[in-house]
Amino acid sequence: MTFDILTSSPADDGVPTLTLANTVDAQSADLAGVQRITLDFPKFTDGRAFSQAFVLRRRGFAGDIRAVGDVLIDQLLQMQRSGFSSAVLRANQDAEHGRKLLRHYASFYQGDAAHRAPHFAVKA
């Protein structure tokens, strides 16, 4: 899945969007007709949205999951791995460097939303 890094809040593109608060149970949220879900990071150290994104992907949601709020380039990799497909950066972030950081690791130990199988299940 591609991961779009946006540097400013994009204009409304008409995509049916659901904004899910961090306190909402992602397991039971009604997703009928929804093509984009935005999840908020009130502070970049508040990690609830990572679990929400993972659960939404596990439910089979195939649309865009977008990170908004206190979004820094150093957390993009964790967002991508947890199931986000786009992120709107906080001001003053270096998007180009952020793209580079997404490619820093070749692979990881545990499975995630993007690669479900852990390292021990995929290696020869």
């Binding site: 508040d46 990572f50 070749a106 692979s107």
Partner: protein
């Protein structure tokens, strides 16, 4: 020990490179301090009272001699403040309280209760170089701080204990790998600590952890985990609850994923003191347990991706084979030499293999803070590991080093070598083998200094006959309520508190870390208002005098305390006041 694969090695190097990029951007002004802080913390870099502190991860306490030598090199070459910084820091410390300011130590590695190693003076601009040096021997600081799954601790005698049902180390290693850079669990409400044991006696204080794991065999001889959740110290000491009596071993990652996911969603983020999982478990009780079970069932229904294959357990387990040792007959010179006999009795423990012993090197001695090792001592310990213990040591929860593979026939020679190094003090589990945090000499969180109190107690109780007579006593000192020195679980606990800028000390009695000696895990009770620093040793002595006066036969301190009752000890503790005696106490 676990043998790093190319994948594991590349991963550690990639992490060091990632950190260097983050540090470079911070030093260039591209990454603000507030945004950098959680990143450096998750690599073990704190900024303390006078300088950064590095906490190096030692997974379940195991180190090889090459790693020890790199730690020695870091102590020698990097753990050095500038003369100006040291002078300023010493002057500030000398101005605190009535207790004399001890000389601040440098070029020292410090063993922690969570089996890690800390350094106190490495300049931040050298930190990336140190990470590269660590990576050269597969060491790092990954997740030794921050609100994430921390380094996993275990029984210091894992894999060698005579009372062990299942060697926990392969499971600890699988857990380490699973928790390393877990993308979903890097920003939990608060830190998350896991401890694991496979022995009948709990030497890892598992019920004092966010998750405690006991790996065991059921009646059908199947291996699985008894899972505890919600233990912890701090302001609200809580002993963990059992959430699963028996979980098949291969499901542990799937199950912990559920435990942590529900905590991530439900844990409090509005108050740092209420953010640990213990508060959630206490508040929600069965509702939390039910949600973990429901989430676990969803993980299973989704394909149970983290079910551990037998082949993976076999691969990891193959790394933990016992080294070859030459069988020799242990000649009992113990009776001929009182000093050697004492050391064998106190510092040498039984082993699964009757020809081997587990030997503790005591880092509790006069002139050093508990758990401190100089660069030369770290090198010397590496030499002892190579000569006597298949190149391996363990950092222990009690802040000593343990040599896990010592042949009985080499004990006399090891004793002589260790004695020359000053590491053969036969005081393991005795009063002076105390746990102590670095306290106000180094830590920015501390309310009071721990090391001068530890020093005063060590100085007062130097006589070995007296120490042996007092027997096994857990004395734990914390410099603040964060409880890194585990005062809650000490038979005698000391807690530093700050009142009007002065150092005061609460004394607590009757705690347990869950060991056989101490009984079921429980928090100690406060004897009364805080004491002045100068009173602390007298209070300890008064408490121990009552023990000596009232003990029956060979009764241990903790047993006498339980039998005679807390109140009698409380009375003598408070009667030992001198400076706070008549004045209004705090």
């Amino acid at each position: 020990m676990y043998q790093y694969t190319d994948f594991d090695r590349q991963f550690v190097h990639a992490r060091a490179a990632q950190y260097r990029d983050q540090l470079t951007r911070n030093l260039n002004g591209q990454l603000a301090d507030d945004d950098f802080r959680p990143l450096r913390l998750q690599n073990g870099w704190y900024v303390q009272r006078y300088a950064p502190m590095l906490r190096v991860a030692v997974p379940y306490g195991e180190l090889n001699s090459a790693q020890l030598r790199v730690l020695a090199r870091i102590a020698r070459e990097y753990d050095t403040p500038t003369p100006e910084l040291l002078k300023q820091a010493q002057a500030t410390q000398d101005g605190i309280g009535a207790a004399p300011g001890p000389r601040l130590t440098t070029n020292v590695g410090h063993f922690t209760t969570r089996q890690n190693v800390q350094f106190n003076w490495i300049p931040l601009d050298k930190s990336a170089d140190v990470m590269d040096l660590l990576a050269s021997v597969n060491l790092h600081g990954i997740q030794t701080s921050g609100n994430c799954i921390r380094n996993i601790t275990s029984d210091e005698r894992a894999g060698i204990a005579a009372d062990e049902d299942v060697d926990p180390r392969p499971y600890a290693e699988v857990l380490r790998q699973w928790s390393t850079l877990h993308p979903e669990f890097a920003y939990l409400p608060r830190k998350f600590k896991i401890a694991i044991t496979g022995a009948r006696e709990d030497r890892a204080a598992i019920e004092w952890h966010d998750v405690g794991l006991r790996v065991l065999r059921n009646e059908q001889n199947e291996v699985g985990f008894k899972v505890y959740v919600g233990g912890g110290m701090g302001r609200t000491p809580i002993v963990a609850s059992v959430i699963r009596e028996f979980l098949p071993w291969n499901q542990i990652l799937n199950y912990l994923e559920a435990v942590v996911r529900v905590y991530n969603a439900w844990g409090r983020r509005d108050n740092i003191y209420k953010a640990r999982i213990k508060i959630l478990v206490k508040a929600e009780g069965q509702r939390y347990f039910d949600e973990v079970e429901a989430e676990y069932q969803r993980i299973l229904a989704d394909g149970a991706h983290h079910t551990i294959p037998q082949s993976e357990l076999n691969r990891v387990s193959a790394c933990f084979v016992a080294p070859n040792t030459e069988a020799r007959i242990f000649k009992a010179v113990v009776e001929d030499d009182v000093e050697f006999g004492r050391w064998v009795k106190q510092n040498v423990a039984a082993h699964k293999n009757p020809e081997l012993r587990a030997v503790s090197l005591s880092f509790k001695r006069l002139g050093y803070a508990p758990g401190d090792a100089t660069a030369d001592q770290l090198d010397a310990a590496a030499d002892l590991a190579d000569k006597y213990s298949a190149g391996e040591v363990r950092v222990t929860h009690d802040q000593n080093l343990l040599l896990p593979w010592v042949n009985c026939g080499q004990l006399p020679e090891l004793w002589r070598d260790a004695r020359k190094l000053g590491l053969a003090r036969p005081n393991l589990h005795l009063l002076t083998d105390m746990i102590s945090c670095p306290g106000g000499d180094f830590c920015a969180l501390a309310n009071a200094r721990s090391i001068p109190i530890a020093t005063a107690i060590t100085e007062r109780f130097q006589d070995l006959d007296e120490l042996f007579d007092l027997g096994k006593i857990d004395l734990h000192i914390s410099g603040c309520i964060n409880s890194c020195g585990h005062h809650h679980s000490g038979h005698i606990g000391i807690l530093g508190v700050d009142k009007d800028g002065q150092e005061w000390y609460q004394i607590t009695l009757g705690g347990s870390d869950g060991s056989d000696l101490s009984g079921p895990s429980r928090a100690s009770k406060v004897v009364g208002p805080s004491f002045a620093a100068a009173e602390v040793v007298d209070v300890i002595e008064a408490v121990l005098d009552l023990y000596k006066d009232t003990r029956l036969g060979g009764e241990h301190f903790i047993d006498t305390l339980q039998r005679v009752g807390f109140d009698a000890f409380k009375v003598v503790a408070n009667a030992a006041r001198h400076s706070t005696a008549k004045a209004e106490t705090v």
